[in-house]
């Protein structure tokens, strides 16, 4: 009897008030989505990939797109670390901490998606043991594996400073914290590994001679690399700017973030040029499968994604919001613009992945008639993907709430030199 009353009291005094907090409700909702995702993932593991809508003609779908997107959005980790530690922008060191945490979460999302997506998850380690050095995907596997280790070492001090760890395992906390000394070196390693695999992801598509629309090795590698950096920095800046509005635990250095946002504004314009050069400079004369794919992208079923979401919402609108004077003073517009940039990169990955598969060449009678294929993710694919994304949001929320990953108040001194925002573009400082 006393136990029951104790439980009742606990519920009344602790659980119910907690449930009134929006953050707790948010995290609970995410946990439910995650649980559904785990159940769906179990179905996939037990039943096999035939529960997806993937086919031999469209073998890479929603999961690969999410995997590509999250790796791209994780690029903030290496780029901001590189700016902070290699270009020695000290005011960005605390932002790099946020970026590394977000990057870590993104890479874990990517690895979960990949584990689901491969036909033999029990053999995920084969890439590290059996090498085919000619394969861009092997290079990506190796680099992602190594870079995840780097991120783990960079995140370790953050975990070490988590209150429960500090109180219960002070020695462990100290050990983990001491890894912080390695951060500048890890920034260099991270820059190398990320440059390799972010561009190799583009090459993964770019070197497929079987798919003419993808078959542009250098432009694809470049576009993937640049868009990853832009999207990654945008996401980290966006989360950092947004956090103080939601929780008092987040402390930011607004001046530094605003500079980053301004940089993103220029970078997204540069990305627009690259994307335009990459896609629109193709010869216009008819080439089987390539012309059809270009049609799908610019006028067919991906046209809204391409013009509306990728070009307009993902590049033009943010560039205006981040660069034009009157909008620049509006913080809400700035946060929105940064979110659009990240969204644009996600849509870019989705479009790129799909466009090469929606039209297949050489599979049909006559061999010169391209075949149009179709793909819509199945419910189970969507549920698992939602679960994994919910995990990501939960992890970031947890990080902000308990790990103080957005605490940019540590370094308060303003940069000594005159604040010329454009000088922060990495290329100019070399």
């Amino acid at each position: 009897m006393t136990q029951i009353t104790a439980i009742k009291a606990f519920v009344r005094n602790t659980v119910l008030p907690a449930l009134r907090q929006p953050v707790i409700r948010f995290m609970l909702g995410l946990s439910v989505l995650m649980a559904i995702g785990v159940a769906a993932a179990l179905v996939v593991f037990i039943e096999g990939l035939h529960v997806t809508n993937l086919t031999d003609l469209v073998p890479w779908g929603l999961w690969i797109s999410i995997d590509l997107s999250s790796i791209a959005l994780a690029a903030g980790a290496f780029s901001i670390s590189a700016i902070a530690y290699i270009l020695r922008r000290k005011e960005l060191i605390p932002v790099a901490k946020t970026a590394v945490y977000v990057g870590f979460v993104c890479y874990s999302i990517a690895m979960m998606m990949l584990l689901l997506d491969i036909g033999r998850p029990d053999r995920f380690w084969h890439g590290f043991v059996f090498w085919n050095i000619h394969s861009p995907l092997w290079e990506v596997t190796m680099c992602v594996g190594l870079y995840f280790t780097v991120l783990l070492m960079e995140v370790a001090p953050i975990i070490g400073h988590w209150e429960p760890v500090e109180q219960r395992f002070p020695r462990l906390s100290h050990r983990l914290g001491s890894l912080h000394a390695l951060t500048p070196y890890l920034a260099v390693i991270g820059l190398c590994l990320s440059t390799l695999h972010q561009s190799s992801l583009g090459l993964t598509y770019g070197n497929l001679i079987a798919r003419p629309i993808w078959s542009r090795p250098i432009p694809m590698a470049l576009a993937f690399y640049i868009s990853a950096i832009v999207g990654g920095i945008a996401l980290v800046t966006c989360i950092s700017l947004l956090a103080p509005h939601l929780t008092p635990r987040a402390r930011i250095n607004k001046a530094a973030l605003d500079k980053l946002a301004y940089t993103v504004g220029w970078a997204v314009l540069f990305l627009l040029v690259v994307r335009w050069w990459d896609l629109m400079s193709m010869p216009v004369d008819y080439e089987p499968a390539k012309s059809e794919a270009l049609y799908i992208l610019t006028r067919g079923r991906l046209a809204f994604n391409f013009w509306g979401l990728e070009i307009l919402l993902g590049m033009v609108v943010p560039a205006v919001l981040l660069l034009v004077g009157s909008f620049r003073r509006n913080e809400r517009a700035r946060i929105l613009a940064l979110a659009f940039v990240a969204l644009g990169v996600v849509v870019y990955r989705w479009n790129t992945n799909l466009v090469g598969q929606l039209v297949v060449f050489g599979q049909v009678p006559g061999s010169d008639v391209p075949l149009f294929t179709d793909y819509t993710p199945s419910l189970i694919e969507i549920l698992t993907a939602t679960g994994v994304i919910a995990y990501g949001l939960l992890a970031v929320t947890f990080g902000v709430r308990y790990l103080n990953v957005i605490d940019h108040g540590e370094v308060v001194e303003a940069p000594a030199e005159a604040p010329v925002p454009a000088a922060m573009i990495p290329s100019s400082s070399r």
Binding site: D56, G119, R120, R123, H126, H134, L137, I209, Q363
Partner: protein, 290 residues
């Protein structure tokens, strides 16, 4: 000289294939599978019993060493003038290689008809490209060139990433989306497939019946000439549309066919993949007839 060889071969081929093809096609008559399977086991020539090489053992055979010239240059020549699109080759392939009902290692498609309105078909097996995109890009090297240049799958190594499916210009790679259990409706009741079934989650494709080639070579047979050493689809083709052999041997069926028909072509040659499957157009061009 060469035309006699050819006629001889056709006779031999027809005699051997008629039985196999009819049996496989009707699929309830147990003759061909049993005959071929048992023939090698129970009727060895003298004391040299041929060793049966299974596909998983074939996977252990040496990978390509590019410093060493390949001892064989296997090629398949498909005469589109003879193919009637009956799918017997597919039936034989399903039965010998135990492919699931929803996977066909090679496919037969109808293409544009000839000028005089005859229907034309194009069987498409794995091209076993000399410069294969799939071999180049497989992240774990699960698909590789064998010592004789055939493109092989190592089903124990494949992680099922399906990148090779994207890379293949011919679309001949198939993923095992679900496990294949239970009896194979394409295998005759008294027959048995020659290779183990592939597990769920790996990519599989035509192997040019590498188990038959290796077993035949070990028994001193000539692939392309002796049915027991020749890919099942070639043996099963009643119309002699498919021929197989070694291009290094000037007297092999494929060498002769390619000499006689300079209009032979390969699929998507412009990509530079170097397919090992040649097609003879249904309507010979003027050059070859003159």
């Amino acid at each position: 000289m060469s035309s006699i060889d050819r006629r001889d071969f056709l006779k031999l081929g027809l005699a051997a294939t008629a039985t196999a093809a009819v049996g496989v096609g009707m699929s309830r008559i147990p003759l061909p599978m049993a005959a071929v399977g048992a023939g090698l086991k129970s009727a060895p020539a003298g004391d040299t019993e041929p060793e049966i090489i299974r596909a998983d053992e074939a996977a252990a055979l040496p990978r390509a060493d590019h410093d060493q010239p390949s001892p064989h240059h296997w090629a398949m020549v498909i005469d589109q003038g003879k193919c009637v699109g009956c799918d017997l080759c597919l039936a034989a392939c399903h039965a010998y290689n135990d492919t699931p009902p929803n996977i066909s290692w090679s496919r037969v498609e109808e293409v544009a008809p000839t000028a005089d309105g005859r229907r034309v078909f194009r069987p498409t097996p794995c091209m076993h490209c000399e410069d294969a995109p799939c071999v180049e890009i497989c992240p774990v090297g699960a698909t590789y060139h064998r010592y004789d240049g055939l493109v092989m799958m190592d089903y124990d190594r494949c992680i099922g990433c399906r990148y090779c499916q994207l890379s293949c210009p011919y679309g001949v790679r198939h993923f095992n989306w679900e496990a294949f259990t239970g009896p194979n409706p394409d295998v005759p009741a008294a027959g048995h497939p020659e290779v183990p079934r592939r597990p769920r989650g790996v990519v599989e494709k035509c192997s040019f019946c590498v188990q038959r080639i290796d077993r035949g070579l070990a028994a001193g047979l000539t692939p392309g000439r002796d049915p027991d050493a020749t890919p099942a689809c070639v043996v099963a083709c009643v119309y002699g549309a498919r021929t197989f052999g070694d291009l290094n041997d000037p007297e092999s069926m494929v060498s002769i066919a390619l000499r006689q028909r300079p209009d032979a072509y390969r699929l998507r040659e412009e990509l530079g993949t170097g397919p090992r499957v040649y097609y003879l157009p249904a309507t010979p061009t003027e050059v070859s007839e003159s």
